[in-house]
């Protein structure tokens, strides 16, 4: 299952220009599936970077606008798009000029694969 998903993520990486990495983790930042090119920044792949999203999305959900779904962080040379699919977190890392809208539209395509993975993570002790 995970191999198929990894292959699919690699296929998506090729489809979007400037997308360096797709990462599916649990909310603590533990990687479950990873597809990355060699351009992906190592600092952004560490659990402490990814787990920060867990806190940020919790805080953003308290702003009175409903549950936070996505956080887009633009840096000088990268953009990081993180999606709240609790208990899973999807992280996309791309170049600063990468097509943000195209990455956001990948959500619908990845979603069907997440159901089984989310069940496994939710049942883990």
């Amino acid at each position: 299952m995970v191999d198929d998903l990894r292959k699919y993520l690699n296929h998506l990486l090729e489809k979007v220009n400037g997308l360096h990495c797709i990462l599916i983790t649990d909310r603590d930042g533990v990687p479950l599936v990873r597809a990355a090119t060699d351009k992906a920044p190592q600092a952004a792949l560490t659990p402490n970077f990814i787990s920060t999203f867990g806190m940020a999305t919790d805080q953003a959900s308290k702003l009175g606008l409903g549950r936070n779904k996505t956080i887009i962080s633009m840096y000088s040379s990268y953009q990081v798009i993180q999606m709240n699919k609790l208990p899973l977190v999807i992280t996309f890392i791309g170049s600063d000029n990468c097509n943000t809208g195209h990455i956001l539209s990948l959500e619908n395509q990845i979603e069907p694969f997440l159901k089984d993975l989310a069940t496994v993570v939710a049942e883990a002790p």
């Binding site: 979007v16 990468c98 097509n99 809208g101 195209h102 956001l104 539209s105």
Partner: protein, 93 residues
Amino acid sequence: MEKELDRVTDEIMLTPNVTGCIFADHQGLCLAAKGNAHVDSAGLIVAISEQACKIQPNLKPPTINLEADKKQCLIQRHGTITGMEAAIFVNND
């Protein structure tokens, strides 16, 4: 701020056979959408336009016509760096 864009969108929607209209910025983020144009398609429209521009990079961006049995989708880019993408969905009848 977006009043002018809304006005243009409404104007386009009044054209006969037009069923939808969407505007996106160069990052693929939707600026305005009306009719049967889906907000999520903004990114894909910009991606299609980017690929088409690579065919002849020295010329100005082409207008793309995606033609199906019953519908057409016309995509046009305005400006190069901070450009805007417009897509119009038209019925063939």
